[in-house]
């Protein structure tokens, strides 16, 4: 109590004596929600790098809810005309902010040009980082998460004579076999974002890369309500049958734990699930499998990035430039992603210190980028704006948690998207 009071008093004293303490490298106030163990460690690397460039880091962590709380804080700061230097924003939301007129005049574009970011990033990723009609850099990427992973318990599969499935039919057969042996085939948490995560992996596998692009990225009405979409919902219904009764509302890491302790066999989840396995001391390829869900060399990505808002004052602009350059630094990209479980957004970072799953992810990424299979995840806010993403998620979760027919679901999907446009 007294300590808090003391802090309050000190806080007031500082607030009323705002002598500019900016150093040569400028200052940066960074709004983020990386506050838990591995993520906080990963962010420390960035703080150190930034300090080496002579910058002053003003931390503004808003913990909780995968960024929900942070988003509320961020919006109120922007409405008040005082945005932070940089904040953790990704996907088309970057361009949405740009359209509200708070990102111009794109101070970091000069840095990006000087360091030639275009050649360091794959074109899909770099496009997400650009504002002003995809011409000027206004955000810097930190990592690439893959979404379409199967996490599976190797011992469970081995003891039933099963291999990792390479098609959805194989998966269904394996799951039925496991179910009759009394094992939960599919560990899942029934939360809307998890339902959507599974849905997009299924859609990518059953519809194929082109269909995914048409339905999810282009929002083509015929694709959304057509026969292929019906098949996708059919597979979702089968997956629902492979879950257990405790599924609704379960957190994703609880589902991961079910795979780890052999109660369940498979889970579909992004590569942050790997952290749960490594914390329990399990090894990929020995204790568990980390392989992509069946698809035609598709790759669903989720790129975390920092957006840089329009700023006034030399010290703040210098801070933005130095921070952008630090984020794209090889050292930060490597160490951060080893901690976080993802892979670097920069293509030229050596991968030999990463684990097997990350190495596989990095080589798949390069292959998929060439063959057109590198696609944005909609469930994690990379493909669609929030309104369309939310509308789609509503239908998916309604279908998965009820006995709605696949035809009905496909029809509603198209209707909901139409209404949200």
């Amino acid at each position: 109590m007294l300590v808090k009071l003391e802090k309050l008093i000190i806080g007031f004293i500082f607030a009323f004596s705002t002598v500019s303490t900016a150093m040569a490298g400028g200052e940066a106030e960074v709004l983020h929600w990386w506050t838990s163990g591995g993520e906080a460690k990963a962010l420390q690397v960035l703080k150190d790098d930034f300090a080496k460039k002579g910058g002053t880091w003003k931390d503004m962590p808003v913990a909780g809810g995968g960024g929900d709380a942070a988003n509320v804080t961020l919006k109120s700061r922007i409405v008040a005309g005082d945005p932070p230097t940089a904040s953790q924003i990704k996907g088309p939301t970057i361009q949405e902010y740009d359209e509200e007129g708070v990102v111009a005049p794109y101070h970091i574009h000069a840095v990006a040009k000087a360091e030639n970011w275009d050649s360091l990033l794959s074109s899909q990723v770099s496009n997400h980082m650009k504002c002003d009609g995809f011409t000027k850099y206004c955000a810097a990427p930190v990592n690439i998460h893959r979404i379409d992973w199967f996490w599976a318990n190797k011992k469970v599969l081995d003891s039933h004579g099963l291999k990792m499935p390479t098609s959805w039919d194989e998966f269904n057969a394996a799951a039925s076999k496991l179910q009759s042996a009394g094992i939960i085939p599919f560990a899942h948490g029934g939360q809307p974002w998890q339902d959507a995560t599974v849905f997009e992996a299924v859609l990518l596998g059953i519809g194929g890369n082109e269909f995914y692009h048409k339905a999810i990225v282009e929002l083509d009405m015929n694709a959304l309500s057509g026969p292929t979409m019906v098949k996708v919902f059919d597979q979702m219904r089968k997956l629902q049958g492979f879950t257990d009764k405790g599924m609704p509302g379960r957190d994703w890491n609880v589902a991961t734990a079910m795979v780890m302790n052999g109660k369940a066999a498979f889970q579909i989840m992004g590569d942050w699930a790997k952290g749960e396995f490594s914390n329990a001391g399990l090894k990929p390829g020995v204790d568990y499998y980390c392989l992509p869900t069946p698809s035609d060399h598709g790759y669903l990505y989720n790129v975390d990035s920092f957006i840089f808002y329009g700023m006034k004052g030399k010290s703040k602009i210098d801070g933005q430039k130095a921070l952008a350059s630090s984020i794209m630094g090889k050292n930060f990209q490597k160490i951060f992603n080893i901690y976080k479980g993802s892979i670097p957004a920069r293509l030229d970072v050596p991968m030999d210190e990463f684990d097997m799953c990350a190495k596989g992810s990095a080589s798949d990424l390069k292959y998929s980028a060439m063959t057109g299979g590198l696609l944005p995840s909609f469930a994690h806010g990379m493909a669609l704006r929030n309104a369309q993403k939310g509308a789609m998620q509503d239908v998916i979760t309604e279908h998965f948690n009820s006995n709605m027919s696949s035809h009905e679901a496909a029809r509603r999907l198209a209707d909901a998207i139409q209404a949200s446009l």
């Binding site: 409405v79 809307p192 405790g246 599924m247 609704p248 309604e398 948690n401």
Partner: protein
Amino acid sequence: MLYWLQRNLPKIVISPSFAVIIWFVYGFVLWTFYVSFTKSKMLPRYEFWGIDQHFRLWSNPRWFNAVENLLIFTILFVLVCLLIGIILSILLDQKIRTEGFLRTIYLYPMALSFIVTGTAWKWILNPTMGLEKLLNDWGFTEFTFDWLVNRDMSIYTIVIAAVWQSSGFVMALFLAGLRSIDDEIVKAAKIDGASLYSIYLTIILPMMRPVFMSSIVILLHISIKSYDLVVALTAGGPGISSDMPAVFMTQMAFHRSEIGLASASAVMMFLTVLAIIVPYLYSELRRQDANS
């Protein structure tokens, strides 16, 4: 000067908080009204757009679902809370020995926040680790209680948790009301040969009209605002089956970049509160004026 100060001190002291309330409550109510007539998406915009957001709101199936849930929840929550609260208070009013102890037990849930209540009930009602599993492990293998994960029943689990938390509070209100009733009236009725049942039903409860009023107003506003309990207990799930207007509003405002639509839904909630509470307060206050 001193005299002037003395006379105006109350006004001076109260005026800052008065100004703050005018601005932050009524000011922002008006602001929300205005925003609901704009095209605001991610951030508020101020060009007038017309009534389209309200049309969009009322053509959104999710909103209808939320409103329907609110109706079910409000009706059940208010009625069941009143019923349990009244019964408990009448039972406690029989001059029993451990009254203080029992009263504390029933009142304690009120000390918890809805988040705690929601989380605890989430565990109790979860079929794979709560009540159902316990009874199954005890040998009642036929027993199922899966309302929490059943989309047709999930809204009732919210009613259960909310009733558990709030009926003790209603009990306390009614107990205070019962204590204020003159013993002579009860004695007179007894002499006239009225049964205990009819004394309560036809004499005592009608006398407790003001207590009914305060309980109903308090319960109603809890139910229309209900957000934290839903988020903690079901998060609106399974699917969107236990969605409520307040959850819908935050979702739209902060997750979906639909600030205009969210404002329209907030306006609807506000009007609902007005439509229910204003006539009620009006009639009750007028009655009191007439009595005094």
